[in-house]
Assembly symmetry: C2
Homo-oligomer: 307 residues x 2
């Protein structure tokens, strides 16, 4: 039996303006899976965390990932997966993508890197489809590849790794509230007023330019979302007030992470990121909502083997 | 009397995907204006070209530009403008923007650079508003500033000069057909399907990333427009066939310039750009449509004094 332990990072989809096309890996926070193969066929999944996951393997997001890997490579094995650490599902920081990325990366390690990084994202997207009913890469791609990834297009998949400024800090809060990705998608209008669409792609251009030029102020003022946030912020009580306070405290932007309920702020130093974290804590504490928070320096590290 | 001669370049708005938010100066091709000031008040405009322009100064695009300059600076002068060289109006390569940029830049020179470059774009946009009924900067900004400019947002105006790869070549054809900017705008639906909007901002991200990383292939595959081109290409007979031929000949992309009827192709060498130009010529010749064409290396030069 061949066995490996893999870490895959949490991730923030959209970064404000980049709805469905930009995602950022968070590192330090993520899933840990142990993956083994031996001769034979089949898949067993053991959940060794306290996080509730579906008992039926057909409902676990790693199953379609492993299946896709076998289909793409023509390989066969008896695969065992032990989930050792798990981001809480429905948090909006790429919980399913982290498991999918870890499974895809791990099985590929055990088969001597038979697939490319981009192909691993394709495998991981199968799990995302099971989780949310759509082939999205805005969590899966950064989870696999690390850093900040632009999905220029889906047909064909065109992944562009964007530069990460050396001083980009991120504060995240996961308030313990349930927002389903499917519901958060279903409330979005299927038509965007041209005026707002123009503002959105102006901001996407600004965000990408800011990342290349390490201009955190440009990054911050580009992270305005005219498409999803106006509808999704209703799920996060006091969203506008929280943002006002966080920007006043020196952060460059605050947005919903993916479809929420997690919220994140970016800053050009550790200190304003820490202040943002404290304001987030106070905000949800005052409403009696439990949470966890963390502050990370955004890095380029993606899914990797750990020992 | 103080007198100056100014050149302002033609420009290509949108660059495919960047509807209303990206523009590229063409250099080598453009308008030449002589501008003079003396004590007094008023504005005279003389058209010394063969290009027909409105006789009434109130209908000439430079009038609101000069007026805006005086309003912003609190200055007063008797201004004389002689138009010495003029891009044909309605060509879709920023004819009005070139005149506006030249007027704004020239008057500012004569008043010792009292306004910033960004403020000159604001002045030039007044002329654009007269020409097309909207405050657009996607020709005015590159005409003033040169190179490739991202208009991240309009409220407030946020202009980002993007890097120009050293080997970006552009072939342009101006077929002699009339397409009014107002009409070309009015046929666009005021709602964009979310699916297409996502593809559009994925491409804007890719275009900006390609410019920063000098990746002409990425630039080319990002220059796909799902918003304006599907409606505007009807004005350009045989558009799809022409593009197919031009891409086969080695160019990276072909799109409508602004609202048309000019069409342009980008390439990573002079040779495929020249081939694209020849295909453009043949295409319109076969239909008995007159034209002019040019091939330029995209540069960073904007409006400037000439002697």
């Amino acid at each position: 039996m061949n066995k490996i332990k893999v870490f895959a990072p949490a991730s923030i989809a959209n970064m404000g303006c980049g709805f469905d096309i930009i995602g950022m890996a968070l590192d330090e926070v993520g899933d840990v899976l142990e993956i083994s193969i031996e001769d034979g066929d089949g898949l067993t999944i053991e959940n060794e965390t306290n996080v509730p996951l579906p008992a039926d393997p057909e409902e676990n997001v790693v199953t379609p990932v492993i299946r896709k890997f076998m289909e793409m490579t023509g390989k066969k094995a008896k695969v065992g997966i032990r989930i050792l650490k798990k981001i809480y599902p429905g948090s909006g920081i790429g919980s399913s993508a982290a498991s999918c990325a870890a499974a895809a990366f791990g099985i590929n390690e055990l088969f001597d890197h038979i697939l490319t990084e981009e192909e691993l994202v394709v495998c991981a997207m199968e799990g995302e489809n099971l989780a949310s009913g759509g082939y999205h890469a805005d969590n899966a791609a950064p989870a696999v590849m690390g850093g900040i990834v632009l999905i220029r297009g889906y047909e064909p998949l065109d992944l562009i790794k964007l530069p990460v400024p050396g001083n980009l800090y991120c504060a995240v809060i996961h308030p313990h509230m349930i927002v389903s990705t499917k519901e958060a998608r279903s409330i979005l209008p299927q038509q965007v007023p041209l005026h707002n669409a123009i503002r959105q792609w102006g901001n996407v251009g600004g965000l990408v330019a800011g990342l290349y030029s390490s201009d955190i102020s440009l990054i911050g003022r580009s992270m305005q979302d005219y498409v999803a946030e106006p509808y999704r912020k209703q799920f996060i009580p006091g969203f506008d007030t929280l943002r006002k306070n966080i920007l006043q405290a020196g952060a460059q932007a605050m947005n919903i992470s993916g479809s929420g309920p997690s919220v994140f702020a970016v800053a050009n130093h550790f200190e304003p990121a820490r202040k943002a974290e404290n304001l987030m804590k106070r905000h949800f504490e005052a409403m009696g909502i439990e949470y966890e928070t963390f502050v990370v320096k955004v890095s380029n590290k993606g899914t990797r083997v750990i020992y």
